[in-house]
């Protein structure tokens, strides 16, 4: 995966079975987001091969590849909800891949499946905000509202980028368990990038460690030691800052 001149990811080789739950950990800038976008077929790898559901997405036609994208749900770290939109519309936008354009336009005037949005929101305790505007929500509410969109989608792979970054510890646990439960019931794969290493180790059976765009480990969480975590997050000494002094 190329970013400018350098590759943002290199030598990353992974096989993920349908239904697995995986936490993606590593320092900031390690390439977690790039990896998630690559898996969602949103970014084309500069080199290498990606297989999804037995298909080669980048060998498919433009239209077929776009159809395949409906099976993935990519939830970015900053929830991509338009501030002026109402929560119900923002959540139901998760249905767009399976809706016809007519239905989508109708739903802008009068939400066609408000119950679906209400149920998804109630899983995160946000049902009261159904008809509120997105810009009236707090940061944490907005983040969970973005995840409610995941619940209404028909995706079979959840690629979630730091879903807990705006949440307090209690809400983090609840939110994570909703995601894991939904993935389990649907038989969907859950790949979640996290900065909360302890949560990742307790709740996910498999951990992938990334550092500087390279795979550091890919192991069952029981096999991941404190030393491996410490090495993953080890800070390189910063180069000595040179200061120019005016005379």
């Amino acid at each position: 995966m190329r970013h400018g001149q350098a590759f943002a990811l290199s030598d990353v080789s992974l096989t993920i079975e349908q239904g697995q739950q995986i936490a993606l950990i590593g320092p900031s800038g390690a390439g977690k987001t790039t990896l998630l976008h690559t898996m969602a077929c949103a970014l084309r790898p500069g080199l290498g091969e990606l297989t999804a559901f037995g298909l080669l997405p980048w060998s498919l036609s433009h239209a077929q590849r776009h159809k395949l994208r409906a099976r993935f749900f990519l939830a970015p770290q900053t929830p991509p909800l338009p501030p002026r939109q109402r929560v119900v519309t923002a959540v139901l936008a998760g249905c767009l891949p399976q809706w016809s354009l007519t239905r989508a336009l109708l739903s802008l005037f009068r939400p066609v499946e408000p119950d679906l949005a209400w149920e998804a929101l109630s899983r995160f305790n946000l049902q009261d905000k159904l008809y509120a505007r997105v810009d009236r929500l707090s940061g944490g509410e907005r983040q969970r509202c973005g995840l409610a969109r995941l619940l209404v989608s028909k995706a079979l792979v959840f690629l979630v980028d730091e879903p807990l970054s705006a949440l307090d510890p209690v809400l983090s646990l609840q939110t994570l368990s909703v995601l894991q439960q939904e993935a389990h019931e649907r038989g969907a794969t859950l790949i979640c990038s996290l900065h909360q290493v302890e949560l990742a180790r307790c709740h996910f059976p498999r951990l992938i460690g990334l550092r500087c765009g390279q795979l550091v480990f890919d192991a069952r969480s029981s096999e991941v030691t404190d030393q491996m975590i410490a090495d993953l997050y080890r800070h390189e000494p910063a180069p000595a800052a040179s200061l120019e002094v005016l005379q």
């Binding site: 409906a70 990519l74 991509p80 338009p82 002026r84 939109q85 767009l96 354009l101 989508a104």
Partner: protein, 290 residues
């Protein structure tokens, strides 16, 4: 330049920062630029026969004063007001019908010309050749539509469909679809596109992504620009009245030829009221969104 760039600032013995005398390297280019502009502008003024002092010659002053004096009081006889009402209604109708037709043309062209709706742009940072060609074609069509002034279209259509408002409606529809399409596409491209892109990445169709991602953000600007264009269309339809497209313009043309100042004054008052009304509509619509 034969001088080495030297620091323009230095510390004096007391430690204070002082400015030292140095020639500003941008000064001569600026002076040269202004002189060039004047030299280029002068022949333009000469060629356009720009002679404002004619306005102040005794003969012109007397004529203007005579005409302006006849403005008061504005014509307000019942018959004339009725005539004015019908003409105003025709003008507004021409502008509104023209703008509605223009929207029908502008919206599809906007969707073709906007860049933020490209899936291939997200995938690889570049648009596919086919996509680029379609966008370029749409942009050229928009340029073609708006490069011909509505007055020229109106003169053309008056020949084809005859005198009357139809020519005005068609002229506004063509020119304004070019203007609206260009500006709509630019508003959509410059609005925050993350929500649209995420919808595209999750498999939504391009139109659905536009309506659910970009539109909520761009709506106030789109409404503001559309009502402003409606205002322009009202003015445009007045001007086209002078070439026979009906409405207030045609009445004004008649009154001006008869030097009926009081009638002209009433019509100018109507213009101000119309533009003021368009302004109110815009404010009202945008405040409904907040």
């Amino acid at each position: 330049m034969n001088r080495l760039p030297l620091p323009a600032l230095k510390y004096c013995s007391s430690g204070m920062l002082v400015r030292i005398q140095h020639p500003d390297p941008a000064w001569y280019p600026r002076l040269f630029g202004i002189l060039t502009l004047l030299i280029v502008l002068w022949p333009m003024l000469v060629y356009s026969e720009f002679k404002p002092w004619i306005l102040f010659e005794a003969q012109s002053l007397a004529a203007s004063w005579h005409f302006l004096a006849s403005f008061a009081p504005p014509a307000h006889s019942g018959e004339f007001l009725h005539l004015l009402l019908v003409a105003t209604w025709q003008t507004v109708a021409v502008a509104t019908a023209g703008l509605t037709l223009a929207l029908l043309g502008a919206i599809p062209l906007t969707l073709l010309a906007a860049e933020s709706l490209s899936v291939s742009q997200i995938e690889t940072g570049r648009m596919r050749l086919a996509g680029r060609l379609v966008r370029q074609a749409a942009r050229w069509l928009l340029i073609l539509l708006r490069s011909v002034p509505e007055l020229v279209w109106a003169l053309l259509f008056v020949r084809i469909v005859g005198l009357g408002p139809t020519a005005g409606v068609l002229a506004i529809a063509l020119t304004y679809s070019g203007m609206l399409g260009k500006v709509y596409a630019e508003i959509l491209d410059s609005s925050e596109s993350q929500s649209t892109q995420v919808l595209l990445k999750n498999g939504a169709s391009r139109l659905a992504a536009l309506f659910y991602g970009s539109l909520p953000e761009a709506a106030p600007e789109l409404i503001s620009y559309t009502t402003y264009r409606w205002e322009c269309a009202i003015r445009g339809s007045v001007v086209m009245g002078f070439v026979g497209a009906g409405g207030l313009g045609q009445r004004m043309d008649e009154s001006l030829k008869m030097l009926a100042g009081s009638e002209v004054a009433s019509m100018l008052i109507i213009f101000v009221l119309l533009v003021g009304a368009a302004d109110r509509v815009s404010t009202l619509l945008r405040s409904r969104l907040d």
